[in-house]
Symmetry: D2
Subunit: 350 residues, 4 copies
């Protein structure tokens, strides 16, 4: 097999960039050309990513040393890509942006949630939202891809069959997200200082979470007037993300209907597993065993007494939530087997 | 000061019993007479509770060696007290039960939730539910007290002002509880085995949680037709409990109304703190800094966009959730300052 | 490439068996024929190993259903293989035992450390000790392999160049091992119960650790009168093992000599990395970034003031310490590239 | 009882200052007058120490607002006190310094280890080293006290009886310290960033640890030519410190001799417990159950095979290691019962 797709990563010293690099280095069809970093320019990539010692001899370069390549990955802080993209879009035929700048189709929605004007609104329509399970056919010919936010990814995947198959009411959808510390990036602060961050159950963003906008945008493809509320609580976990989604089932809905909805949507999806077992200690999705993988595990429970359907989704925020998602999109864009480079099954125990 | 209240603990080798014993040993008005344990009879209490080494020379005794005392604490597994109480109620004037058997007033409700018939239904009306903030005046003359379950304690305290002051709708109250491993007791199993339990975000009881019954029973004192749904997720934490309560505010409710409701109910409560800060990393209740304390910290956020009020409550499940609660009730029953023996402020960092 | 080596695992429901299975399922030259388990016979392997959901449809079988295969892996509790091996050695041409029974060459040494007589002493000479870096040439034609214990693996690899190149004195070698909970296996007990095991710094085996015998046996190949003392402390970690080895450098030894010794022994080893950096936060070996890998990272510091050389080794106890080690041995036994199936670089952050 | 000792804390926003403040607020003989902080001046102490919400209404002040008081505690970064002390020593009759500046008696030793000249060498002889178990009689009349470093505290207490009673050889004493994140203070950095710091076994200071100087200075009171080597490894723990001390017993030493040595030194010490049990899961000292306490737990194991005595000591680095130590010294200085304000027994489970 030839490593015939040349790719570079802009902003490769962060956690998303590092995970992307790890996956790309082992992808049989890809050659990593360059990885940029302001802070680490001139140093080995293993300086920022110690797991890559002896694995890669790549050296971080500066952004102005960027060569042409086939595909450019942007792993930049929110708000940077939109100002930077015009400058670099001639460097590659295709671009996959891991950040938030091009996820929302509507510039006003962007302005509402991100409290600033979009700097490249004309490019918004050119981006495909990066969830393969929703946009597989568009991704095949996509030039630009905006990866979903990690909470959005797992929430959308968990909710989509329930919305599409009219299992739940479109209002009062409560997404209670349990988050990990790597979601906050790799910049130290008092909030990430170990003695403070260790063991917390921190109500990080109780209401009005930005990812709500993405979730509503994508689910609107299947139902009007979807309204979701996200509460993000950050807990003792470095990687991983679980959403407990509290919904109201429509009258008469049975467990069988729910199974049918999930199977109909995801029966042949390579990276989605329905996890709902009667026994054992992993009866529902558990993020820790997804660490390093591209899987999204989904489970659910219906309560007749409470007229409530609790759906549970779990991913690795840096896997299916970010870097794995990006690779899966790339595989589709280049006509490769979607699972290529993403086969890692996760570890147990961990 | 004299240690003139003689107390004994039945079932003192578990986590609740151990925490109770620790608090009682330092309580200036109490003399601990006996602590029973089948498994540890004849051994020092420090064998089960290593923190009590050199603190106490008490030796666990058997239940049939029980002497008369002023107050008996029952720290037994659910379902045991109700069969046992008639046998021992002549041993003490007053009884405080830390278990679940006498919390529900209605024997049918008990049968529904606990899947068995109550064995001492005639005694149910004689028990006072142990939350001081709700039943202080009854506790003063109570002979028998049933301590609230820990999820019920923090949920009721967080919701009560919102229900009483008509801040929220009575339906669609979603209690998303984040639990710790000590809530499962001290019996090892595969689910508590460290390599499996470490780092989990385990959907332990997604719907139909037993504590729902207690919560509805107590909130019914303030509003008809209250319906709550509890989802319990157990996370990487040994002690501590946080509830994220998703509610719908009534039309026109403002943040000021909510402050008013909480202050009106809890302005003079010694163990309740409203935690809602604009800055810092402890802006909302955080269970880790409550470890070992009797505090219940409560916070909230109102979202106009989402028509949603998220209320957040945190306690130490073994403190205010169990043993601290029991001591507070005892203090009231004996006319002592309610804070006696419960002054520990918690640690930081931890 | 053909999956033309048929293998089976005896005792495949434990942690070592599960990790082995995970690695074998993705090994391009191997076909996993059977996996036995008493407890889980008849159930999917994913029941014991939830990370293998949708990855493998294998079903655990009983030991008496064992078919012939090319290579048999034994992943049994200590003391079982030696009684069982004669019964099954006709089932496969080659056997790799992950347990302790055939590690020690001398039956008396075995009896001393394991407090029982060896049940198959005649087979002891037929086993090759499984550390590739020491016994590569013997492994090529080995019929039976006994994998090293995990503490022994990392201790031997860290010490070998120092002993071989006469860098250190042969006495007073103190191995202070920091262990993880998965080393205790998957049987729950009070000592592994999460509220007790969480956050410990437990002096598990302060002196007279069994792995001392293996370490002394193997280092004796390079120096007479080697004496090591192992202290094992188990800490808050599920996977991973680090040894801090306190040694006395011989007079005149310089840092350069030590570098030379390590490079001479390990310069071309695929799975050993010398980690010693002047800056950064991963200056020395760190087990957490080795999780899931077959790497052994080694570092050292020389103190002139203290006449002391501290050598530091880290591995994943279930990787290079057990299952990875076994696969590496298998690769050598079958003339495959030693890295086959073992390329996973580990995760960061984790 | 009257709160008749007025105290102030200089540098009260750090972890040591916060723990000191917590203890002082509940000390029956003390009135906390002022707490200074540059960063937090003008804000409630609970802003830095969230466990003190509703416990204290004190407000941080600036250093230049300092009033006269009976006793001044200095909780400043290393290297600050020595330049500052002359300016403030007229503010109080007595001073207890929690930092490192006045621990070493010899200014040259100070210069060697701290890589700078001492700024107040004339004051060095006026300081008493703060370990009550060694210097109780001097503390009674001490004007200035320098608290021991936390590794020094636990190492000295563990070793003293072994040295004094000639149980061990004076050379080759290896102190393998397992450290927690709070020992690094409360300034965020990449090394304390949660995704990096979580789960580490980081070889923080493998050789030439500064506390060696203190340990050697104090043990020299009992034996000439003592030489210790400290290796500090920081692990997943917020509070707590355990030292595994590897020593060589003198010929003929028996376990009984060791018991005798410890009992003779510590038989009547209120805060030292010898922990060495044949059964159970807390057989040796365990730092987690010491969190928040002033205890130092000590255990040991003698191996005849290895001619090795492993002694194990555990403390809470912020308790007996810093703030508890300071209070104990204060109690002695003011003729109070040494246990006053330090009775907290620690929590279990935790």
């Amino acid at each position: 097999m030839k490593r015939n797709i040349s790719v570079s990563i802009i902003g490769g010293s962060g956690y998303a960039g590092g995970e992307l690099l790890r996956l790309l280095l082992f992808h049989p069809n890809v050659k990593v050309l360059q990885v940029t970093s302001r802070q680490f320019a001139g140093q080995l990539v293993s300086r920022a990513h110690p797991n890559l010692r002896k694995i890669s001899n790549l050296i971080f370069c500066k952004q102005d040393e960027l060569l042409k390549c086939d595909l450019l990955f942007l792993a930049l802080p929110n708000g940077i890509s939109m100002g930077y993209i015009k400058e670099i879009k001639n460097k590659a035929e295709k671009i996959i942006d891991l950040g938030a700048d091009f996820r929302l189709k509507d510039k006003n929605t962007f302005a509402t949630w991100y409290k600033k004007q979009h700097e490249a609104p004309d490019l918004l329509p050119e981006f495909t939202y990066g969830i393969a399970e929703l946009h597989r056919s568009e991704l095949k010919n996509a030039k630009y891809v905006a990866c979903a936010g990690c909470e959005a990814m797992v929430s959308i995947l968990t909710l989509l069959p329930l919305v599409k198959h009219k299992i739940i009411e479109s209002k009062n959808i409560i997404i209670d997200a349990k988050m990990s510390s790597s979601q906050g990036g790799n910049t130290p602060s008092m909030s990430s200082h170990h003695p403070e961050r260790h063991g917390v159950v921190r109500s990080y963003k109780p209401v009005d979470h930005r990812h709500s906008a993405e979730i509503e945008q994508e689910l609107a493809l299947y139902s009007k007037n979807i309204q979701v509320s996200v509460t993000a609580t950050t807990i003792e976990m470095v990687r991983g993300l679980l959403v407990t989604i509290h919904t109201q089932p429509r009258p008469g809905i049975t467990e069988k209907d729910i199974w049918k909805a999930y199977r109909s949507c995801y029966g042949s999806e390579p990276f989605i597993r329905i996890v709902k077992e009667a026994e054992g200690i992993y009866r529902y999705p558990e993020p820790k065993i997804l660490t390093g993988t591209n899987y999204c595990d989904i489970g659910f429970v219906l309560s007749t007494r409470e007229s409530r359907l609790v759906a549970i989704g779990a991913i690795d925020n840096l896997g299916k939530g970010t870097a794995g998602q990006a690779i899966q999109a790339m595989n589709i864009m280049y006509g490769l087997d979607e699972k290529t480079g993403l086969e890692f099954p996760g570890l147990h125990p961990i």
